[in-house]
């Protein structure tokens, strides 16, 4: 095993943070300050608030960048640093310090979150320009960045939990940002509640850790897990963490909130619901590699969840006409890939994070592109009303195109380097597993190519399905610079990031001290060249099919009835119907019955005493009023008399 490569990340072995790393707390503090100033400052900050928030986000990026440079200056094994903050929860035998773990994994996330986050702040300046509540919007964005950085920098599961629900709160607030629309308010609630189901798992996981190991720090749990803790305990912890990850990362069976979360403003969809927050589940699994490495059954569960979700999301993505919902389904599916890779163990961890990075760029870029299209099309999201926009919005078209090539996995664009590696890794192993999971990953690549090409062609190519005059006239135009520049930067990342980070295995080597590396002598059950060829053939097939149906042929402006499968996919494979039938409606009935029983039954039946006051007839009430008032006075008098008597006797 590769456990020797694991860094001990405790106060003990990870070096105490020195130099600039000792200021890593600023990463959380700066955006948090931004959020606080904007929220508590009120309308006084309306004017400069958005710029201030953007500056705070960039400032966090600069800190992160400097911390990263300092880390590069140290040798691989000395790169992890631990920053002790303060004694946080000294409750009984549970004595926990708050601290930050600044290692290769967390710094990778810090750079992704602050860089993409800051770009999206800039984009939002343009996108939200005319919104009366934009100060609040930027405050929430800052809050999100702070919480996300806390999540990835925390040195214990409990502190991670704070960031974990913090990003959930930011997500809730931003999905419901336009909550004057009741459907959007419902979407926000749904996201929070489904996430809480996941958090149930995280909570129980923390409980098991403490009961079994007496600690909830990463270092402590790692030490216990590698020191021969029982597999049963580790499996239980792993499954509970997986439940938490499913909630946050919209993985089956807790995937239902993500599509509705597209109610939030598009920059939010790009940052939170594509590039960063939804990938937190993958982070959790990779960060907990020491648990999963010793709990093969939990690992298998992770792979199964990933495989199901990647196919599920891809199928749903094929049927959606709402551009944002199609992208959301795609996000779900891509995170399924990451989850699958993370479940494969050391052969997959690095690629899970690698794909998470490249996906962060190309998917955020495409969401911003979708926002740009909506901006130019009067907030229309129905792709059946788009078409032929490549001419009207050149920058959006090109940047989106790069993202499209990246997600397809066309060489040499970013996705090729990360996704192909996941497919290869999925084919490693023995018995039925490589065939099933590798097969799922392979087929998923083909479906991805189909639905992403469908989306791209329906939006930018084919015939124009919009009018420049009449009732719903639109005048598509390119978006302002504040919006296009972030799109261009992300497009460069979509194009090159994968290649750059793959050169000489740079990225996998970088992460190796944290997550372990590829073991020598592990090869896929099929030759790599064959897998690559198969993948590219399937991708080409998907593109071709999409080209025939959505570029060459006319796209109907009204949604056709569609086959049984299409209708199922449009309804997200009946996920909401299942949840409603199994949980919501029975829950509603239970609540109603209890409310009824509480007023009639429990209240009335708590014994004769309650029955006495339970009657509501006015006659009885009058009687009681007199009774009790005198009772109280009698009691007071009684106490006084008794005490007085005692005094006298004394």
């Amino acid at each position: 095993m590769t456990s020797l490569a694991h860094l001990a990340t405790a106060d003990g072995a990870a070096t105490a943070a020195t130099g600039v790393t000792a200021y890593a707390w600023l990463l959380v503090a700066l955006p948090l300050l931004g959020a606080a100033v904007l929220l508590f400052g009120g309308r006084a900050t309306d004017k400069w608030g958005p710029l201030f928030a953007t500056a705070m986000s960039w400032a966090a990026f600069v800190v992160g960048f400097v911390v990263w440079l300092a880390m590069l200056g140290r040798d691989g094994e000395d790169r992890a640093a631990h920053l002790h903050l303060f004694n946080w929860v000294p409750a009984g035998s549970f004595n926990l310090d708050a601290g930050m773990l600044v290692d290769q994994l967390s710094v990778t996330f810090v750079l992704l979150v602050t860089f993409v986050g800051s770009l999206i702040h800039v984009y939002s300046i343009g996108y939200m320009e005319h919104d009366p509540d934009k100060r609040r919007f930027f405050a929430y964005l800052n809050l999100f960045v702070a919480a996300m950085l806390l999540l990835v920098l925390a040195d214990s599961y409990l502190l991670l939990y704070v960031g974990w629900e913090g990003v959930g709160l930011a997500s809730y607030l931003l999905i419901g940002f336009w909550n004057h629309n009741p459907a959007y308010a419902t979407a926000a609630n749904k996201a929070f509640v489904v996430n809480r189901v996941g958090d149930f798992g995280l909570s129980v996981g923390i409980m098991i850790m403490f009961a079994a190991f007496g600690t909830v720090t990463f270092a402590g749990v790692q030490q216990a897990a590698e020191g021969g803790a029982g597999e049963g305990v580790l499996t239980a912890i792993g499954l509970m963490l997986l439940l938490g990850a499913c909630g946050k990362s919209a993985q089956f069976p807790l995937q239902s909130w993500l599509g509705d979360a597209m109610a939030g403003p598009t920059p939010v969809s790009a940052l939170i619901h594509a590039a960063t927050m939804v990938t937190a589940g993958v982070y959790l699994v990779v960060r907990s590699s020491f648990v999963f490495d010793h709990a093969p059954n939990a690992q298998l569960a992770v792979v199964i969840v990933g495989a199901i979700t990647l196919i599920f999301g891809a199928i749903v993505g094929c049927a959606k006409d709402d551009i944002k919902k199609a992208l959301a389904a795609s996000t779900m599916s891509q995170i399924g890939y990451m989850m699958l890779a993370a479940g494969l163990g050391p052969v997959g961890y690095a690629f899970a994070i690698f794909h998470l990075l490249t996906h962060g760029f190309f998917k955020a870029g495409m969401f911003l592109g979708a926002g740009s299209v909506m901006h130019g099309m009067n907030d229309q999201v129905d792709m059946r009303r788009f078409g032929g926009l490549s001419g009207a919005m050149k920058i959006t078209w090109i940047t989106f195109g790069l993202g499209w090539l990246a997600i397809l996995g066309v060489p040499p664009f970013s996705g090729f380097w990360s996704k192909d590696k996941i497919i290869e890794a999925a084919f490693i192993g023995e018995g039925w597993r490589p065939w099933v999971f590798g097969g799922a990953a392979l087929i998923g690549a083909g479906i991805t190519a189909f639905y992403m090409s469908r989306l791209f062609f329906m939006t930018f190519h084919g015939t124009k399905r919009w009018q420049t005059d009449g009732d719903d006239a639109v005048h598509p135009h390119e978006s302002p610079r504040t919006m296009t520049i972030p799109m261009m930067v992300l497009a460069v990342g979509s194009g090159l990031l994968g290649l750059v980070l793959s050169l000489g295995g740079t990225f996998t080597h970088w992460l190796e001290p944290v997550v372990g590396g590829h073991e020598e002598g592990e090869h896929p059950v099929l030759p790599v060249w064959l897998l690559m060829t198969l993948t590219l053939l399937l991708v080409a097939g998907g593109v071709l099919l999409a080209w025939m149906r959505y570029w060459r042929d006319e796209v109907p402006q009204v949604q056709p009835t569609g086959s049984l499968a299409t209708r199922a996919a449009r309804r997200d494979l009946y996920q909401d119907d299942v949840n409603e039938g199994v949980f919501m409606r029975p829950g509603l009935h239970l609540t109603r019955a209890l409310v009824f029983a509480d007023t009639r039954g429990v209240d009335g039946g708590v014994g004769g005493l309650a029955a006495l006051v339970g009657g509501t007839s006015s006659r009885l009430r009058r009687l009681q009023n007199g009774f009790a008032r005198s009772y109280a006075l009698t009691m007071l008098a009684g106490v006084v008399v008794i005490l007085g008597a005692m005094w006298v006797i004394q």
Partner: protein
């Protein structure tokens, strides 16, 4: 000033305040609230000064002690003293009082004698609250325990909503029933104790060999009174009525402080005086606690009255507190003690901000709202923060206490802890559904313009939100005070924390 009678002084100041307020001459009647606020602030200052005398590392169970003979024939002493838990409860009560007085500023708009009495009653209640937490003599505790009912009865019955009489009577009868059962236990306990002129002192009654059956019977007598007060399922039904009919400030003192006497009593009396019976009763108590958590939460989801909803959330939260107490682990105990503090602030914020909204809308019914985030964005914001504290969002104070209770319970009773954890999902539902129904949606058409949060209301809310944040990120000062008290109590019970079941080579941190 080691011999300064801090606790007596803290108790007497509000009593003097009450006399002054009630006796204000006719010309100064409209100053009643100012005088009351002044006295409550002075009391708070003395409370903080007393807390500064408190030493977390002391070996003594009680500090700031005072002891005088009162009725030696019956073994009754006037004995006061606090451990960390009692002191934290007193500080919470003293901090909430000025907040409540400020929130109650316009509760009696007609003024006059009625207004004077209203504020005087609140101050009297403070005296009794200090007394009940500070008493180290079981009989003295009982006297304060019953005496508290009187001001609350009048605060609800004379100043409450349309069904105030019904609610006040129900409250009184439930509490009296509990109290009388406890009285039997109190007297029986004395008979088993060493007797003498100070035979009711807690110290004299700790560690007695009572015999299994008498101990159990006495435990049940005490526990019943505390369960009614806490309130636990199934004796919780007085709370929603009392909370919704009482003025919001009264509801805060009732649910936020008075009900804590129940859980405080479980720690101080049930566990400390009847350790064997406590262990014997644990399975039943845990089941009741878990039922309270889930039942209270489900009932809260189903409510259409804001105040009733908040009251039911408290039933759920008290379930957590009792769960942590009877888990008999230091982590669970410290979590529960901290929960008692946090719940005071979070329920106060919910009740008071809810009442500000109710006053503007003229209705307590949730469906009568809708879209109010567009009407009163400031109030909506603080209401959401209060709600998030109610659902124990990490970063806000109640999270730490809730997770500590669960973690501590899991060490000994995993099944109870896991079932109770379902409460966190239900909590998200009851808070967010309420927020959605009241605050989101299109802006309503209102016939009269509505003001957003006023300066006075900001003063009411600010200390509560500050408490959420400070205790959420830095609960150490409170926990440092609570930990020794919890350990001492568990020492009396004679239990130690279970060792980690799967520790690697014993060297885990």
């Amino acid at each position: 000033m080691t011999n300064f009678p801090w606790l007596t002084v803290i108790g007497v100041i509000p009593l003097i305040g009450a006399a002054v307020v009630a006796g204000l001459p006719a010309g100064l009647t409209d100053r009643a609230k100012h005088v009351a606020l002044g006295f409550s602030l002075v009391t708070l200052v003395f409370g903080i000064a007393a807390a500064l005398q408190f030493e977390n590392t002391s070996d003594q169970q009680f500090q700031l002690t005072e002891q005088h003979e009162w009725i030696p024939q019956f073994g009754v002493s006037y004995a006061l003293g606090v451990d960390g838990i009692a002191l934290v409860m007193i500080l919470m009560a003293l901090l909430l009082t000025p907040v409540c007085i400020l929130a109650a500023w316009r509760d009696v708009p007609e003024g006059g004698k009625r207004e004077k009495n209203y504020f005087a009653l609140m101050l009297v209640l403070v005296t009794f609250m200090v007394g009940v937490f500070a008493a180290t003599d079981v009989f003295l505790f009982y006297v304060f325990f019953e005496a508290m009912l009187i001001p609350v009865y009048f605060l609800i019955g004379s100043y409450g909503g349309p069904r105030r009489q019904y609610a006040a009577v129900k409250f009184l009868l439930f509490s009296l029933a509990g109290g009388l059962v406890m009285l039997v236990g109190v007297i029986a306990l004395y008979r088993y104790g060493p007797g003498g002129a100070d035979g009711f002192l807690v110290a004299k009654l700790t560690g007695l060999d009572l015999g299994a059956t008498p101990e159990r019977l006495m435990f049940v007598a005490f526990f019943f009174a505390f369960a009614v007060k806490a309130p636990m399922w199934p004796v919780h039904t007085w709370l929603p009525d009392a909370a919704t009919e009482a003025r919001p400030a009264t509801a805060v003192l009732l649910v936020g402080v008075l009900d804590k006497v129940g859980t405080y009593g479980m720690i101080r009396f049930c566990l400390q005086l009847f350790p064997e019976a406590s262990k014997w009763a644990t399975p039943v108590v845990l089941v009741l606690a878990v039922i309270s958590i889930l039942y209270g939460a489900l009932l809260a989801i189903g409510q259409t009255d804001i105040m009733r909803l908040i009251a039911y959330t408290s039933v759920s939260h008290f379930g957590f507190i009792v769960l942590g107490i009877f888990a008999l682990t230091t982590t669970g105990g410290a979590g529960s003690a901290l929960y008692m503090l946090n719940h005071g602030f979070s329920t106060a914020a919910l009740f008071l901000i809810g009442a500000m909204l109710v006053a503007r809308r003229g209705s307590k019914r949730i469906p009568d709202f809708g879209g109010w985030q567009r009407v009163t964005p400031g109030l909506a914001g603080v209401f959401l923060v209060a709600g998030l504290s109610g659902l124990a969002l990490p970063g806000l104070s109640s999270f730490i206490s809730e997770i500590m209770v669960l973690v501590g319970t899991f060490q000994r009773y995993p099944a109870a802890a896991v079932i109770a954890t379902a409460g966190i999902v239900l909590a998200a539902l009851y808070i967010l559904l309420m927020y959605k129904r009241m605050m989101t949606g299109p802006k309503p058409e209102l016939t009269t313009p509505v003001r957003d949060i006023t300066r006075r209301e900001k003063l009411v809310v600010a200390p509560l939100i500050a408490a959420f944040l400070v205790l959420g990120f830095y609960p150490k000062p409170a926990l440092d005070m609570l930990n020794p008290a919890v350990s001492k109590t568990l020492h009396y019970v004679g239990v130690t924390d279970p060792a980690p079941t799967s520790a690697a080579d014993g060297s885990t941190k």
